[in-house]
Assembly symmetry: C2
Homo-oligomer: 240 residues x 2
DNA sequence: ATGTTTTTAAATGTCTGACAAATGAAAAAT
DNA sequence: ATTTTTCATTTGTCAGACATTTAAAAACAT
């Protein structure tokens, strides 16, 4: 960690980039402690506040965590899937809303990715998974649910479905696509009629999951995709 | 943007979360300017350095950008797919390396996601796309390439393939999965024999793309997946 | 000797005030 | 009318101070 090239940008960015590189290149081990802010300030020949701003940048990406007190400091974080999940979803939501992505486009991506799991879901689903999905389907049948609650349960169901593939990478990647759709899906009005149809699709899908029938899962998902797109037609060109 | 609930955590985190919420909820429009650091400090009743640390956190997630000078300040960023891409890849790389994800698991996810694009690639590929892929295949035939260069071209080829689907969400999501694999793939030694086989697979895939044959693309990708997994066998249990 | 309390030192968190540097706009000079 | 200069605003950086947290060391009591 030298204090070379401080060319163009501001110091705190430069420094945070350098430390980030060191973490990616494994020059710094997970769990190890960075020098104290005062030491870093001396090493990089900058003020303490500059170091602090650099560290805050890294903390925002959960690359480090800080602890106060005697043997405190900044520690290289072990990034877990859950940590990354939230940020992934937030970013995806903003990407959808800021880039005028059509409902149809987002829908297409979401279901295409879900279908990518079908093969593994059929192979690896456990009975616990099935119970969890069936519970959501039951929830969705309750007529007292608000549109938001119905939608939330729908998203949960699809999350469970994806997790059935038992591949953490798939789960992580798809979380962005599936959960980022929630704001869009929340704009749909779920009539009694449409809820019934969606639940029928879900029941068809869970049957295929039970039977370990990948083709059937795909078919059910495709049908659901088509129906979701028609429901989304009223959300015209783009999501504002 | 009030200064309510400053419960548990430290102030700068609290404040950055509040502003982040305002951005997600569209209380603050894209492109609009936040109050100056001094004004924010007054509003939140904290020091300027606290505000600055909060803003640095947001900047690290490219939620805002800052400009110096007279009519400068912090502006709500329009997050584009390219902006999010780099962070997505970095995070994915760290997730893979820090969570002892098996090569096989990462490989499975990567190819499953790529296959999810096949249908759209077959429908939407342009002649320009095909030329770009063929160029990479030619590159890969040059024997003078180092393993790293061969691998880089391989990754580029698959990026182009994914982009053929003309769905920015898919491209963005898959970039993480595909490019994050690069450090793992770089550990593979590409013998003359294995390069030849990979190129054969690529040629089979590009043929199917030309013929708009989704099934064929899937088949080619699956074959390539199997072969990649055998190549990766020497990378034993996990990526260290 | 052992357990408890107090003290201490180290580290981050926060505030204040100062100055540097960039930048756009207004004012002045040409 | 055009160019130059000045000026005000705002972020970037630094330095010093104090608050707060925390673990370990020291002091104390049992």
């Amino acid at each position: 960690m030298k204090n070379e090239k401080r060319n163009n940008a501001n110091l705190s960015t430069e420094i945070s980039e350098q430390i980030k590189e060191s973490i990616i290149n494994k020059d710094l081990d997970v769990g190890s402690r960075l020098p104290s802010e005062l030491e870093l300030a001396e090493q990089f020949n900058v003020g303490r506040s500059t170091i602090r701003e650099a560290l805050k940048r890294l903390a925002a990406q959960s690359l480090i965590r800080t602890q106060r007190g005697a043997s405190g400091g900044a520690f290289i974080n072990h990034i877990k899937f859950e940590d990354a999940h939230e940020q992934q979803v937030t970013t995806s939501i903003l990407l959808l809303s800021m880039n005028n992505v059509k409902f149809e486009t987002a829908c297409e991506a979401r279901f295409a990715l879900e279908r990518a799991c079908a093969k593994f879901v059929a192979q690896r689903r456990t009975n616990t998974d099935i119970l969890a999905i069936e519970k959501e389907i039951l929830t969705q049948g309750q007529s007292k649910l608000t549109d938001e609650e119905f939608c939330a349960s729908d998203i949960r169901l699809h999350r469970i479905l994806v997790d059935c593939a038992k591949n953490p990478i798939l789960s992580y990647q798809l979380a962005g696509a599936v959960e980022a759709m929630q704001p869009l899906m929340n704009m749909i009005t779920y009539t009694v009629r449409s809820r019934e149809k969606i639940i029928l699709f879900h029941q068809s899908i869970i049957r295929s999951i039970k039977n370990r029938d990948a083709e059937g899962i795909n078919f059910g998902l495709s049908n659901l995709e088509d129906y979701t797109k028609t429901l989304g037609q009223n959300i015209l060109a783009s999501y504002k």
